[in-house]
Subunit: 113 residues, 2 copies
Amino acid sequence: MRQLPEPARAALTLAPVLHALGDPVRLELVRRASVKPESTCSALADGMDVPLSTLTNHWRIMREAGLISMSVDGRHRRIRLRADDLRDRFPGLLDPILRLAADESPDGGAVGS
Amino acid sequence: MRQLPEPARAALTLAPVLHALGDPVRLELVRRASVKPESTCSALADGMDVPLSTLTNHWRIMREAGLISMSVDGRHRRIRLRADDLRDRFPGLLDPILRLAADESPDGGAVGS
């Protein structure tokens, strides 16, 4: 698998991370990625009524901000939330956001069930 | 003082709040507002190299997302961070963000000193 470019942990800064989280679609994708590690882009976006080109842009914003890692696996792209990097750089930030996003999510905490 | 329109506490949602925080200028303004209650717009933006029209737009985004209250006080506009509303609607969110923003701020935690 080839990994797409992403910022190093030490280069992560707060505003771009909050910006990347500050969209309902991206927030839901991050929440799903947090409960389904190493999923494909298409599996994570399942059931969301969002054009593919928009999703591609969302994944890029999240990758460039350092929220996710993206790997090319044959015809698939696999997503991994960079939870360890985010918790290390921004202690106390990720978990309340994931919890609050789950509270607001139409899926609640039960993606794919 | 006349208060400009803002969303009610119960209407606040997470993604717009994160979006409003997801810009380096807005994040710094929010951090300053958190340590200088009831300041004017111009006092909070003191020393920031940002055009007035851009600042006006930033304040509007923050007010519409529910981050701040803005009151017209004669020729001044006074800003108040809606910390109680944010802590009520999004428990655990505001304080880590303010702490992390202070860590990244050029002013550190000591605005105006």
